[in-house]
């Protein structure tokens, strides 16, 4: 297992995921009730999408994304409300009976699609609060109904940066001992690079390290920013071609105009393994023209045209790094990624010089690097 392709508002999930799977870079896909309809319409139904993906040996998950309902600007319910996920009003989880009913409905939908159980959860802002208690209770109910269900932990940056309070909450959840976990950092805006805080990265790493001792850990919407958690023990990373697949953010669930868009042409940034960063299409083209040797070394390889090719290159890069990290033991994975960050930080000024721009190395690298470094200190590496 390496990469899992997150659902997208565009109509390309199945075809592009299968292309990545054929290359051996993606092994799974996630569909969401916010972006995939339960019945056929402008987009293929969830059932059809699952069938086509499973026919190509792609493991599919239905993430109920119940945590999105607690986001302040959630409003894009055009597909969501057709899914029978609620007995009462949407989002009602104030009693144990309501929680149980919702979990049962989620599991029923997953059973009907023939996908594994992934339990719903509640968005966390503080790991010791009424909402964290509710998230624990929801997880306990899901675990009682199906001890084999994957459990999810979703929180904003402050949640993951909460130090010992986070560790205590994670410890309570760990008592449930599910076979796998999905961890998500939620942000305000769908922007890249994500503003990863040092303590947030540290907290995500500590959590991945702890839970990975006896369970699989997936970093949902992790993309490049999720790599420190992979070095700390996570085995799969959520990604995609659209920023909304690379980042879990409030803005991804806001009301938006109808229409699926044209295949992702508006986002065509190139992924540079040597920089652990993306460059815009114009920057990538200029770097390729001005210093082809540097471009080739950092990508690595030739700059490919088109959004699909750039996505496939992106999955090549991520899968290669994830493969290296998951093949190593904890200290070696830490050292591997820290070396990559150090090297990337050294190369950014040269790239910026060629492009005539200010280096964005700090934006892409400092949060993950420092968070990883703190994790290393905690572990005594």
């Amino acid at each position: 297992m390496t990469l899992v392709i997150e659902d997208t508002a565009r109509n390309t999930l199945v075809a592009w995921t299968i292309r990545a799977a054929e290359r051996g870079t993606a092994t799974g896909a996630v569909i969401s009730p916010f972006t995939t309809p339960v019945a056929d319409g402008p987009k293929p139904s969830a059932h059809e999408a699952v069938q086509r993906l499973q026919n190509e040996a792609v493991e599919v998950w239905l993430d109920p994304e119940t945590h999105a309902l607690q986001m302040p600007s959630v409003g894009d319910f055009r597909y969501y409300d057709d899914w029978p996920l609620w007995g009462g009003h949407r989002g009602a989880l104030s009693t144990a009976a309501e929680m149980r009913d919702h979990v049962e409905r989620v599991f029923t939908q997953q059973d009907q699609l023939g996908v594994p159980h992934l339990a719903p959860t509640i968005l966390g802002h503080s790991p010791q609060s009424q909402e964290s208690q509710a998230a624990l209770e929801l997880a306990q109910i899901a675990n009682d109904l199906d001890p084999e269900a994957r459990l999810a932990i979703v929180g904003d940056s402050a949640f993951w940066a909460s130090g010992v309070n986070l560790d205590a909450h994670i410890g309570a959840l760990a008592q449930l001992e599910p076979p796998s976990w999905s961890l998500t950092v939620v942000r305000s805006l769908t922007v890249l690079p994500v503003p990863a805080m040092v303590e947030e990265v540290h907290g995500l790493c500590r959590t991945a390290r702890a839970l990975s001792e006896d369970a699989d850990v997936h970093i949902s919407h992790g993309d490049l920013a999720g790599l420190p958690a992979v070095a700390a023990g996570a085995t799969t990373l959520g990604t995609g071609w659209d920023p909304r697949q690379k980042v879990a953010a409030y803005s991804s669930y806001e009301v938006r105009p109808t229409g699926g868009g044209g295949g992702g042409a508006w986002f065509e940034q190139a992924t540079y393994e040597g920089l652990l960063s993306l460059l815009t299409r114009n920057e990538a083209t200029l770097l390729d023209q001005q210093d082809n040797a540097l471009s080739t070394r950092l990508l690595p390889g030739a700059l490919l045209p088109g959004p699909r090719e750039k996505f496939l290159h992106h999955t090549d890069v991520l899968a290669r790094i994830v493969g290296d990290l998951t093949a190593a033991d904890y200290p070696a994975a830490y050292a591997n990624l820290l070396t990559r960050y150090t090297s990337a930080a050294a190369d950014w000024p040269r790239v910026a010089g060629v492009l005539g721009i200010a280096s964005r190395g700090t934006h892409w690298l400092s949060g993950p690097t420092d968070g990883l470094f703190h994790y290393g200190l905690t572990e005594g590496f």
Partner: protein
């Protein structure tokens, strides 16, 4: 509010026991040796400051669970939890009488690994029975483990204190004994003690047995202790006992790990880990 004679008399009458002698008194709690039809039992009485109906209901449910536990390393409960007065101004219950001494009486010089391991194994075994019944001890200290004259270790005071006793540290609303607290004793909501917190406390007992020192020392300054507990500033065992093997050191560090998810999950898992070293 201390336990007064009127409350004691009410407890004797309610439980149908006669007083033999006092065993221990402190704060809101009194422990008496009593006789019930020729059988020596321990009667515990806790004075309640005010009505706490939800806490009492939880405590009563837990006592019912504990009455079903018949384990060599858990003190046997001989009665249900009985409320004294309406509304309740005290609670009382009966336990088996254990001879021997509290573990604290035996911690005057450093133990061998083998002796420490045996103690931790038996305590972990007892905790495993509690955890299987969904009970977290939360107040495991050297005064809550008995070493009988036969050399067996028995976990005492399981479960009751957290619902009723308000002495000791109540940061986060948790009972406990300074020096013997886990980091989760400082938590709220979903961050409160779990079975892995009891494992941390077994780690403290093992640490003290091996070194005669607390891993997070308590010298009487509660706020200083709480600060260091919050940062989980644990003295590394190897600085005090460099004769221990790598696997022994590794397990002790796991038991005292700041992240509860990194510790053996519960008493049974801890017992397995200790046996694996043997």
């Amino acid at each position: 509010m201390p336990v007064d004679q009127a409350l004691l008399d009410e407890a004797f009458a309610t439980l149908g026991v006669s007083d033999v002698r006092e065993l221990k008194t402190g704060g809101q709690k009194t422990v008496r040796l009593v006789d019930q039809g020729g059988t020596r039992l321990v009667m515990k009485v806790i004075a309640l400051e005010s009505g706490a109906p939800d806490a009492l209901k939880r405590a009563q449910r837990e006592v019912e669970l504990l009455q079903q536990i018949n384990h060599d390393h858990v003190v046997k409960v001989a009665s249900g939890l009985v409320e004294l007065g309406t509304p309740a101004h005290g609670v009382t219950w009966l336990e088996e009488y254990l001879d021997g001494n509290d573990l604290s009486d035996h911690l005057t010089s450093a133990w061998t690994w083998d002796a420490t391991q045996e103690m931790a194994l038996q305590v972990a075994d007892g905790l495993g029975a509690l955890h299987a019944a969904k009970v977290v001890h939360r107040d495991l200290s050297a005064n809550n483990v008995r070493r009988t004259t036969a050399g067996t270790y028995v976990v005492m005071d399981p479960g009751f204190a957290r619902h009723t006793l308000r002495s000791g540290i109540t940061v986060g609303g948790q009972p406990g004994t300074p020096g013997f607290l886990s980091p989760e004793h400082l938590g709220w909501y979903s961050g409160i003690p779990t079975p892995a917190s009891d494992v941390f406390c077994v780690g403290i007992l093992a640490f003290v047995a091996l070194t005669c020192q607390l891993p997070i020392p308590y010298t009487g300054d509660l706020s200083d202790y709480i600060d260091r507990l919050a940062r989980v500033e644990v003295t590394d065992i190897e600085t005090l006992r460099n004769d221990l093997s790598p696997s022994q050191l590794a397990l002790l560090r796991r038991m005292l790990h700041p992240q509860s998810a990194r510790r053996p999950r519960n008493g049974s898992r801890l017992k397995e880990a200790l046996e694996a070293i043997a």
